[in-house]
Every structure is written in C-alpha cells, then in structure tokens.
C-alpha cells in the first residue's frame, strides 16, 4: 500500500519549512496544502484541535503535530535513507538539546524585532545577538552543527535564513556583519538542492513581513 502523506502548512512558516526540508531529504512524495491562517480549514482544526497550528503532517490519515516532533517521526519511519539524527544516544541528546534551544529562543526574539519599535526593538536586537553568538559558539569551526554533514540542529535553524533579510532590514542591522559564521554556515547549507528548492525567497518573506507590520500598525 502506498503511503499517503499530506502536509498542512503556510509558506513563510519557519516551522513548516523544517518539515518540507525533511520530506525533501527523504525523497518522500506528499500533497502540500496551503492554509489560510486567517481562515483555518476544517481539516486543520480536526487534525490539530489543541493548538490549531501548522505544520501538521498527516500520514495515512493520522496527524503528527509540532515541527521537531514531525521531523523525528519522519526520520524514524523512513529510516532507510538520509538520516536526520545521529545514531549515538549522546549525539542525539546533544542534537535535541540544541534544536530545543533554537525552538525556545530564536523564533521569539526574531518576532520581537519585527513586531516592535524603539527601546523594545533595541532590547530584542541585543538578545538576538547574544543568542546567535551562543549558536556561533556551538557551531565553532565545524561546517555544520551536525559536524561533517548537516543534521537535526542545522535543519531546525536553516529556515530562519529565509527571514534574515526581513529581520535585518526591519531591525536595522546587518546579519553578515553581526553573525558572519552563521551566515557562512547558511550559505554553505543552501548549496544543498533540497534546501535551496525548499526555502522561500528572502525578498518574498520580507514583503510578507512588511504586510504583517502594516496590519500591526507598525508601518
């Protein structure tokens, strides 16, 4: 029986992008369904009644929610190819710790920057630089967070690359100047076809964020 895989998603979502990259890495065919978050589909509400959020992976009719949980699920089900997590338990714990760090810190602080002004924005920027400094420390001299090849942590962070232009423009700073190692890492990772084809264009995301800012009365 062929697998039926559906992804409920929203194109600028960094969380959705993680799942798209994982599916592309594993070469899994799936149906992509774009959600209008202002008017959520009955399918989304049925499949994720608790959070009502995307992404949701529906595998043979059964929903899996929360992007990092979905990525681990994908890795475990389609385990015969392109592993996303290491096999060693300590390496796995290390990868989970850092993916959790990205989840807890990066999204919130990025959002703070593009949704605020004045002092609040400056505080957001300070925090942002601290967080990315920590990430650069973890990356060290490795080509990827996963060491020789990309892995779980790389995958959890790379979607933010598509938001960098929006964040640095609205934040009034330069990503490459502030976080050179991260930008170099991202460009290296973007040489992978699966990633390059999956991530939306930075200018498109910038326009989207601009529209959101207008709605929040920031423009």
């Amino acid at each position: 029986m062929a697998d039926e895989v559906v992804l409920l998603d929203f194109w600028p979502s960094m969380f959705g992008m993680r799942v798209r990259i994982a599916l592309a890495e594993k070469g899994i065919e799936y149906e992509y369904k774009e959600e209008d978050l202002g008017n959520k589909s009955p399918l989304l509400l049925q499949m994720n009644p608790i959070h009502k959020k995307i992404p949701v992976l529906i595998h043979n009719g059964k929903p899996v929610c929360e992007s990092l949980i979905i990525v681990q699920y994908i890795d475990e089900v389609w385990k015969d190819r392109s592993p996303l997590l290491p096999t060693d338990p300590y390496q796995r714990a290390h990868a989970r710790f850092w993916a959790d760090y990205v989840d807890k810190k990066v999204y919130e602080v990025s959002r703070k920057i593009w949704t605020s002004k004045g002092e609040e924005k400056e505080a957001g920027k300070k925090e942002f630089f601290e967080i990315f400094k920590t990430l650069e420390g973890e990356l060290g001299d490795k080509p990827y967070f996963g060491a020789e090849t990309f892995g779980f942590v790389d995958l959890s962070l790379i979607p933010f690359y598509s938001w960098f232009y929006a964040i640095e423009t609205f934040g009034e700073f330069n990503m490459e100047a502030e976080c050179p190692k991260i930008v170099a890492w991202a460009k290296r990772y973007l040489q992978k076809e699966t990633v390059a084809k999956t991530l939306p264009d930075q200018k498109k995301v910038y326009e989207f964020v601009g529209q959101m800012r207008k709605r929040f009365g920031l423009e």
Binding site: V64, Y73, R92
Partner: protein
C-alpha cells in the same frame, strides 16, 4: 556500572529533576545525586550547563546531558535492558512527545502563574488549566486502554512528564485554594495520580506537598528579600 559513572545535578523540589530520577529508577541505574544549593550554582553546574545554568543535568561518564525531556529520552536509549519509557511504535512516540511538549509549553506555565495572579487573569489561568486537564483525561482514556498508566501497565513518557508536576499542582490547589484535579470531572486522572505516586520508581522521589509549600514560601521570601548587588 560503577555508581559514580552516573551523576545527576538537581534540587529535591524540582519536577524536572524528578523526571530524570524516575527514569533512572525505572531502569534500575545507580547514580549519585548531587543536590544544588538553592540560590547559588555550583562550578560543576555552570560548567556542565553553561547555556541555561539549570538543573537537571545528567552526567554520564564525563558527558553532560541537559533539559529534562532530552535526559529522559537519553536514559531510555542508553539503558535498553530496563523497561521502555517511550513506545516502540513511531506514531505512539510522536503522540507521547506531543503531550510532553504540551505540558511543558502550555499547561505547566499556566498553572505556575495561578498563585501570583489575581482577578480575571487568575480565572482565565484556572480555566486554561482545567481545560487542559479535561484534554489529558481524554488522552488518558485513549492511551491507557483501561490500565493504570498512560503507558499501559507501566509508567511511560507521558506519565513521567505529567506525574512529575503533581507535587506543584497540589501546592497550587492548597495555597491557591482552588480545585484543579476534580474527581467529578477527571476521575481517570485522579486514580492515575494515586497509582503514579505509589509506584516504586516514584515514591522515594516525590516530595511531600507540605514540604513544597514551605519551599515555595522560602522562595517567595528570598525574592522579596534585601536586594544584593548583581555581579
């Protein structure tokens, strides 16, 4: 394995530390518990968890593992001869991780805030927590399949993630004078809570509610205490 091969940095009152202890107990792993002093962080803690500087930290050999749910999964993956904590089925594992994340991201943060909140805000938080318990009651009915735990006959990942929070739930009920776990509304969970607390892996590490209340008063007093210079 030598006892000092496995160390756990923690505080007796922390529900997150309890998760690690329950998991080690389930696997019958001997470990050295290094109690941190509240209000000061040991060199070992700062070295082994420089990012968050928090407990629990599991130190296996010389390798530190941080974040309670990461630690629980690590324990499950390393000590494979003991009973499994996560399901062998991929989908069930995803569900278990989902509920643990729900507890940590939504339910527990709301519950923690009840005591410090007032008026409308407080009522909203209580409503959120009670709604969450109704969802957990439904989940319990589905996953326990009539057995004692979310994990079936034995304690599993959701039991550990949720059960570790029972101590502070009871503190909130007593000090906050609010009924959260109600036998009329969530009879399954009330029974489950008793089974969980009576389990051999849990009994010795579940703190008494009265002691937690004292501890929480101590913490509140410390926070309101004389300001000390920050360095």
């Amino acid at each position: 394995m030598a006892k000092n091969d496995v160390k756990l940095l923690g505080i007796w009152a922390s529900p997150f530390v309890m998760r690690a202890r329950i998991s080690l107990n389930i696997k019958s792993v001997n470990y050295e518990f290094l109690e941190e002093t509240v209000g000061s962080k040991s060199e070992l803690l700062l070295q082994s968890n420089p990012v968050h500087k928090k407990v629990p930290v599991l130190i296996h050999g010389d390798k530190p593992i941080c974040e309670s749910l990461v630690i629980v999964q690590y324990i499950d993956e390393v000590w494979t001869s003991g009973p499994s904590i996560l399901s062998a089925d991929h989908y069930d594992r995803a569900i278990q991780r989902f509920w643990a994340a729900y507890l940590d991201d939504k339910w527990f943060p709301a519950m923690r805030r009840i005591r410090g909140a007032q008026g409308e805000e407080r009522q909203e938080l209580v409503d959120q927590v009670v709604e969450g318990l109704a969802l957990l009651e439904e989940a319990f009915g589905k996953y326990s399949k009539g057995k004692a735990f979310f994990g079936g006959d034995q304690i599993g990942f959701i039991d550990i993630a949720f059960g570790s929070l029972l101590g502070w739930l009871r503190v909130t009920e007593k000090v906050g004078e609010v009924k959260l776990l109600d036998e009329a509304k969530t009879p399954g969970l009330v029974k489950w809570a008793d089974c969980f607390c009576a389990d051999a892996a849990v009994k010795s590490v579940m703190p008494e509610t009265e002691k937690l209340i004292e501890f929480s008063k101590f913490l509140m007093a410390k926070m309101k205490g004389a300001p000390s210079p920050k360095n």
